[in-house]
């Protein structure tokens, strides 16, 4: 069953996923472009800060690519079932929770492919650069972080994509409504509790999400392939 589900998801997503795998492979190579040892020069002549600064330009692209892959995987997971009104899925002799789990597992497995692409690209990229003393390459850690970020984006969107458009609209409206209502209530309570002065619910929520142990922290951490 799991292999069948994996095959089905692969059939759905192979066309958009292959370029994304290639992008994941190419990204580390691009990030070290121009940082190699110039011909006739010793690697020690390279300055560490130039390498780190050069690699930093690409920093936002790694989490962005991970998010794009996660979202693509999640949306494609349910796409065909939505088109068929879920009739085939509902006529299969498996409990619905198990079907959803199989589907989620298949997507998570496919997330390994771009992460593996990035891991290979990162190893190849670091092999091109002679690092001066004090700098280290972190291809394994970067690939792991990339995989984790992809899975987080995939997990969040998978649940939302499983429902109907109506469900998605309800969820998004609920979140927006929560922040609007929350801020109104906070403003009202400031009169009674001055400690709440300048409390922004949206800011608080975002901080909770992106700071450890928030689920989105993985997107904001250290994405450096080469670092001290």
């Amino acid at each position: 069953m799991y292999r069948s589900m994996l095959f089905l998801h692969w059939k759905q997503i192979n066309i958009p996923l292959i370029p994304l795998i290639l992008a994941a492979y190419a990204l580390p190579l691009l990030s070290v472009q121009g940082l190699g040892t110039p011909p006739g020069m010793d690697s020690s002549t390279l300055e560490a800060y130039r390498i780190v600064a050069g690699a930093q330009i690409w920093l936002p692209v790694f989490p962005l690519l991970a998010a794009v892959i996660g979202v693509t995987l999640a949306l494609s997971a349910w796409n065909w079932d939505h088109q068929l009104g879920h009739v085939h899925a509902l006529s299969l002799p498996v409990p619905r929770w198990r079907y959803a789990l199989l589907k989620m597992g298949a997507g998570a497995t496919l997330a390994l492919l771009p992460a593996a692409g990035l891991w290979m690209g990162a190893h190849v990229a670091t092999s091109f650069v002679d690092l001066p003393t004090g700098l280290n390459a972190y291809p394994n850690q970067l690939a792991l972080r990339f995989l984790a970020a992809t899975l987080v984006a995939y997990g969040l969107l998978f649940a939302m994509a499983a429902g109907t458009v109506k469900t998605t609209v309800w969820i998004i409206s609920g979140v927006i409504g929560f922040f609007i209502l929350g801020n109104v209530v906070t403003d009202f309570l400031v009169g009674y509790f001055p400690v709440l002065y300048r409390t922004n619910l949206l800011e608080l929520a975002l901080e909770a999400l992106i700071r450890a142990p928030g689920p989105l922290q993985v997107f904001t951490g250290n994405w450096m392939l080469i670092d001290v």
Binding site: W80, V87, L92, P93
Partner: protein, 303 residues
């Protein structure tokens, strides 16, 4: 277990536009049950309730003696389903779809699936999106039959198919039933198609089951009779009066459509002072139409 499918007082409502009203339905084990009804009468909705795809507001549903929805996975493992609209993935090839479907069914018979592919003339390498309606219909039947089900649920399986494909599909189904003694629940609005193969019939209209009876009774029990000297129709009749209308404007001569007719009832008319002129057999389609007419709001009388 006498009934393969049993619905008791099922109610399901979709907004204000449509509802199944206290639907009770019994499909005997080993029968071929024809589920008739005009478009929009609730046939597909009924099927979706006992397939566990819709949750009824109230009522009990049992399939193969098991409870829907509690035992749904065990039930679905023994039910082959051909939906009204194709539910196969258009981007897959036939062999890929067969393999995908097979992986969910323990009783899947790969040898028979292969035999059916050849018998139905399907190309295993053909992409489903490029298949004709007839080929897709054959594939759906192949998927349902290769599961080796105890119950086959076919929702308008031959709708829109040409006569050759229709015959191929029905032959494959009947061969399977002959071999396995499976129960078949087949919905259609093509009355003549069901007349040849079904031994039970249920008629739906506007969310209600209008009639449920053996096909022989349905075929032989609905008559058009001409009656003279009709003054007032007695409250108690030995048959069900589906409809009545005056004959050629004669005030005491009427044409009745009746259900549950048996020849010994001829004598009844003398006993109530009426004269029976003649009794005409209706074919299944006429009987079906009269049943629907009688179930809809209009001047009609029932015993």
């Amino acid at each position: 277990m006498n009934n393969a499918i049993e619905l008791s007082n099922v109610r399901w409502r979709a907004g204000r536009s449509f509802e199944l009203r206290d639907l009770s339905l019994h499909v005997p084990v080993g029968s071929i049950y024809g589920f008739l009804g005009p478009n929009g009468s609730g046939k597909t909705t009924t099927i979706r309730t006992f397939m566990g795809m819709l949750k009824p507001d109230r009522g009990d549903i049992r399939v193969l003696g098991m409870d829907v929805p509690r035992d749904l996975p065990r039930i679905l493992a023994r039910v082959g389903y051909v939906p009204e609209r194709p539910h196969v993935y258009p981007a897959l090839r036939v062999e890929e779809q067969v393999k995908y479907h097979a992986s969910f069914f323990d009783l899947w018979d790969p040898g028979w699936a292969q035999e059916l592919i050849e018998r139905l003339g399907l190309d295993p390498t053909r992409k489903i999106s490029r298949m004709s309606k007839g080929e897709t219909g054959k594939l759906l039947v192949l998927l349902a039959l290769s599961q080796r089900p105890d119950v086959l649920v076919l929702d308008e399986p031959t709708d829109g198919l040409d006569p050759v494909v229709r015959r191929d599909v029905l032959t494959a189904v009947l061969d399977y039933v002959g071999e396995r003694n499976a129960t078949v629940f087949i919905s259609s609005h093509l009355v003549h198609e069901l007349e040849r193969i079904c031994d039970w019939v249920g008629v739906m209209d506007n969310g209600s089951l209008v009639a449920e009876l053996p096909m022989t009774q349905f075929k032989n029990g609905i008559k058009r009779i001409r009656v003279d000297d009709v003054d007032e129709v007695p409250v108690q009749l030995p048959f069900t009066l589906l409809s009545r209308e005056r004959t050629n404007g004669v005030s005491t001569a009427e044409t009745w459509i009746v259900r549950g007719w048996q020849d010994p009832m001829r004598g009844y008319f003398d006993s109530v002072g009426m004269t029976l002129r003649d009794v005409v057999d209706l074919d299944l389609e006429e009987g079906f139409v009269e049943l629907l007419r009688s179930s809809r709001p209009q001047p009609s009388y029932r015993s």
